[in-house]
């Protein structure tokens, strides 16, 4: 079946260049490049699906002349799972792009968009398959650079350029840490190959292990957008074209999870007991910070980006619990927590992808992502609204959709802390679970706002009033992901089993899957009888009840007779759209209740010409404190600025001086190394 993988890679190489054969700003370029992307993704789905179903991995290596070892690619079930996520999402995004990119036709270079789009997907595919640290970093860098160019695709906007620069800086800081982690492993094992890292894991000294742990956590954490390393994410993700935002939020940040996973569970071996709590701390901070900022956000795409931070936090909760169980030597629970984390990785990719595509669909017709200017879109674009609603229900972890399945699994992973050998976790893990519940409720509030204010009520601007439903391809792109969300919910035990096998191969633990899953039920692991749960039956029961109520009402009371009339206006006709609740208004209670966190400031300016009752102008401004920006990054930037000004003194601009610098450096080097020889 590897032919499909080669086909995928070749198609991506081909698709990157094909746009330039046509008019780079024309419709043909878009159709050709995105059409090939669709084919490539289909090939990827077949390839990875086959590996996951049969359990037979694939491995190949090319010996080159570089002194860094062979370029080896492998797709075990764990890698295949990531290939599947990338391919599924890029399938939907590429189908969506055919319609979405039409907006850029004639004014932007679509061929170059296609080039970076293909390079981006290809780089992610290679990152999850490569088995050599040197090439891993190479492809990692390719992924970062390609996505940088996608972020600044609309480079005529100042916002996109500055977001791009910030992203470029942050991602390279991250890469530096990842590089350090790999370099330390290389120093210890003497090889760049992952196999060598795995074999020497047991012999790693503890101090070195801890250093590598932190380097990997910071490096991959930057890419994943964990708080406080998240500053670039909510700025950069929304700037890219929406189908790319879907890929960035849906899968690119999961590459960091992949990286962290292989470090924690195969390169580093057993770690000290405090790794788990450290990861859990980072996780709960990201979960909360992400959702709190998302709640206050009024820009649809930024809101989604902040919510990605929250979801990465949820995934890390699972990974953190796995570390806890790992150090307590409870492999069964460790496996359960890892499956939960992995399930959330897939789910988040699908519903976040769906929501970004929905936001893109809104953006392409209204040309605004500001929720305050939307409203009433459900009438003009019913299918987009339905797709967005599916995504919103899923991300709010409501039954019967897939978000609830993984949320439930994470809940149980945390509650398995009751069985932990560490007594402190009897108390802290249910507390974490309750905090996860709080975060879940806040997400629901956030998405009631996002969907309710944008799609329901009356249009708040003429952009919203004149919106039209998006074309077939965009709806199809969303439809693919909505169907996947439903499938991931109804087929949960089946997905769970497959994930169980991938976890076994990637984390070295073996456990009997029958403990967890029997037919259509989830059972708890032994010990704490956590409860049972069957997504399929929940979906069935809710459907039967819905239909039953409709039928019974018909039977007993006949067909409903409905008259329409204006909404209740308190007897004073003339309800205007501006009288509706705004997005800012909707989240106001939280701004007030949690004012110790948000530290909101507001400014009201009133202008009147001498007479207090006749106001000519009003200005209202309300903002919340972005703590990490103001407390960490601003001082840091100032520090760098101050240091740079100090260094400026040696930059005089005289060429003689520079030559003498070089001369002095040369002498010093000669002295240093000459003395050694």
């Amino acid at each position: 079946m590897e032919i499909f993988f080669y086909a995928q890679i070749l198609l991506h190489l081909l698709g990157g260049g094909v746009g330039f054969l046509f008019n780079p700003r024309g419709a043909h370029a878009s159709r050709a490049t995105h059409g090939i992307a669709v084919l490539a993704s289909l090939a990827g789905v077949v390839f990875s699906g086959n590996i996951l179903l049969t359990g037979h991995g694939w491995f190949h290596e090319w010996r080159g002349s570089l002194p860094v070892g062979p370029l080896s690619l492998s797709a075990d079930p764990f890698s295949a799972l990531f290939i599947l996520i990338i391919s599924l999402l890029s399938l939907a995004a590429s189908v969506f792009a055919i319609g979405y990119v039409r907006e850029y036709q004639g004014r932007k270079n679509i061929a170059s968009l296609g080039l970076f789009y293909h390079a981006f997907i290809l780089a992610m595919l290679l990152v999850v398959t490569v088995q050599n640290a040197f090439y891993f970093l190479l492809f990692w860098e390719l992924m970062s650079l390609a996505s940088y160019f996608l972020v600044i695709f609309e480079h005529e906007k100042q916002e996109a350029r500055s977001a791009g620069t910030l992203y470029l800086v942050m991602t390279h800081i991250g890469t530096a840490f990842i590089g350090t982690a790999f370099w330390l492993l290389f120093m210890h094992s003497g090889s760049y190959e992952f196999q060598a890292f795995r074999e020497s894991a047991a012999a790693l000294p503890l101090g070195l292990k801890n250093v590598i742990f932190f380097a990997a956590l910071i490096g991959f954490g930057t890419k994943a957008g964990v708080i406080p390393l998240h500053v670039w994410l909510p700025r950069a993700h929304p700037q890219a074209p929406s189908h790319v935002s879907a890929l960035m939020s849906g899968v690119m940040i999961k590459m960091a999870i992949y990286g962290l996973w292989i470090f924690l569970f195969s390169f580093l071996g057993e770690g000290p007991g405090w790794w788990g709590p450290v990861v859990l701390g980072v996780a709960i901070l990201s979960t909360f910070g992400g959702v709190l900022y998302a709640l206050m956000e009024n820009d649809l795409k930024k809101l989604l980006a902040f919510s990605s931070i929250e979801n990465i936090g949820i995934v890390l909760l699972g990974i953190g619990m796995a570390l806890v169980f790992s150090s307590a030597d409870q492999p069964l629970y460790k496996g359960f927590a890892l499956i939960a984390a992995l399930y959330h990785v897939i789910n988040h990719a699908m519903f976040k992808g769906l929501l970004f595509l929905g936001a893109g669909s809104v953006l392409s017709t209204t040309h605004t992502g500001n929720i305050e200017n939307l409203g009433g879109l459900i009438r003009t674009m019913p299918w987009t609204a339905a797709g967005f609603l599916v995504g919103a229900v899923a991300i709010s972890a409501l039954p019967p959709l897939n978000g609830f399945v993984s949320e439930w699994l994470i809940f149980i992973s945390l509650l398995l802390g009751f069985e932990s050998a560490e007594v402190t976790f009897h108390f802290f893990s249910p507390l974490l679970a309750a905090l996860l519940g709080l975060a879940g409720a806040l997400v629901a509030t956030c998405f009631v706002k996002a969907f309710g204010i944008s799609f329901l009520g009356q249009p708040r601007s003429h952009h919203a009033a004149e919106s039209r439903e998006s074309g077939m391809s965009m709806l199809l792109g969303m439809g693919i992901l909505a169907a996947t969300c439903l499938g991931l919910a109804l087929g949960a035990p089946w997905v769970f089993r497959i994930l169980g096998e991938t976890v076994e191969t990637s984390s070295g633990g073996f456990f009997s899957m029958e403990v967890f899953v029997q037919k259509i039920f989830f059972l708890s692991p032994s010990g704490f009888e956590a409860g049972r749960f069957s997504p399929l039956i929940i979906a069935l029961v809710i459907t039967v009840l819905l239909l039953g109520i409709v039928l019974l009402l018909r039977l007993f009371f006949g067909k409903a007779s409905i008259r329409t009339g204006p909404s209740w206006d308190c007897g004073m006709p003339g309800l205007a759209p501006r009288m509706q609740y705004t997005s800012t208004g909707f989240s106001q209670p939280f701004r007030r209740i949690l004012s110790f966190l948000y530290q909101p400031t507001r400014r009201v300016e009133l202008e009147d010409e001498g007479m207090k009752i006749l106001r000519t102008a009003q200005r209202f401004e309300s903002r919340i404190t972005q703590h990490v920006d103001e407390w960490v990054y601003q001082p840091l930037i100032e520090l760098v600025g101050r240091l740079s000004r100090k260094v400026k003194y040696i930059q005089t601009g005289h060429i003689q001086l520079y030559l003498s610098y070089i001369f002095v450096t040369l002498i010093l080097l000669l002295l240093f190394f000459g003395g050694r020889a």
């Binding site: 609603l389 709010s396 039954p399 009751f418 709080l438 009288m579 509706q580």
Partner: protein, 316 residues
């Protein structure tokens, strides 16, 4: 087979009983204000009348508005299906556990809040925003209370918890669950929209929460919402009764056991309804921004309950 029929009967019994419990609280309040209050027949005939009435629906409303009453009612009944009523087994207890119980109500609330925004009025937005805010704070307290009970009873399934506490010694039950009971009682008050969190009898825009959201509803949709709300209240009371006063619950499906269980169940539920009514009579509604403090009491009680059980140890 008889077990299935009896469990099904449990749920229908719950649905039929729900308006009577609301009537009981209304009647209590009326008595305290020197009014007569509605008769028992009145609450049922009100529902019946609403079901038969024509509906007037806002021109702005979309299909979300039409979908919501059904989702709200279905999710509430689904939650009722996993709660043990007379015996310690629920009809669909295998469908899910306490977490599902919490999230089924979250599903109904999600659509309720959306439908409130659908008509495009200020009232709807106001109710929607307030409801989501307060329930976000009630939900973690409810989850934590369940977790602390789960720690003791080694299970998260509601039926399992009830049978554990029914089998435990009375002193133990009181000792280990009283704090969690306090937490869940506060949550029940919040979830059923009672004073001091919300006032079910007001239509004053400054104070209403639940009523603001359903202002645009009429006819059979309103009937579904009202009835669903009454069922939700009874489901919470049932859960409180069976978790914290588990004695007398039917261990087997024999008629004498069931008969006794039925009488005790009614006594317990109406006692709890009396408690809720008593609180409603004696307290004033809290200002909106004081409610989070009230709800955080529930959260703290749940934490204390968990801590207490930690200190005593797990036991068997």
């Amino acid at each position: 087979m008889p077990a299935i029929i009896l469990s099904l009967f449990q749920v229908i019994f719950l649905m039929v009983l729900a308006p009577a419990v609301s009537w009981f609280i209304k009647r209590m309040k009326a008595a305290s204000q020197n009014r007569r209050g509605p008769t028992l027949v009145q609450v049922y005939s009100d529902l019946g009348k609403l079901f038969r009435k024509d509906m007037v629906i806002s021109e702005t409303a979309s299909w979300i508005f039409h979908l919501m009453p059904f989702v709200l009612f279905a999710s509430t009944v689904a939650a009722a299906l996993i709660v043990p009523v007379l015996g310690n087994h629920a009809l669909l207890g295998f469908m899910g556990d306490a977490i599902l119980f919490v999230y089924l109500f979250a599903l109904g609330r999600f659509f309720l809040a959306l439908a409130a925004l659908d008509a495009g009025t200020t009232f709807g937005g106001m109710g929607s925003s307030r409801e989501m805010t307060l329930s976000s704070l009630a939900e973690p307290a409810m989850l934590l209370a369940f977790f602390s009970l789960g720690f003791r009873s080694h299970t998260l399934s509601l039926g399992g918890m009830v049978s554990y506490f029914a089998g435990a010694e009375p002193f133990q039950v009181l000792f280990f669950t009283s704090l969690a009971f306090g937490a869940l009682l506060i949550v029940t008050i919040a979830e059923s929209g009672r004073i001091p969190v919300d006032n079910p009898a007001t239509h004053l825009e400054l104070t209403m929460i639940h009523e603001a959201m359903i202002l645009e509803y009429s006819g059979r949709y309103l009937a579904l919402i009202e009835w669903g709300h009454q069922i939700k209240q009874l489901v919470f009371l049932t859960l409180l009764a069976n978790l914290f006063l588990p004695w007398g619950i039917a261990g087997s499906w024999s008629f004498p056991a069931l008969g006794l269980a039925l009488i005790l169940y009614l006594a317990k539920v109406f006692f709890l309804a009396f408690v809720i009514g008593w609180i409603e009579i004696h307290l004033a509604k809290l200002r909106l921004f004081r409610v989070p403090d009230f709800l955080s009491v529930a959260f703290v009680l749940a934490i204390l309950s968990l801590l207490g059980q930690m200190i005593v140890g797990r036991g068997v």
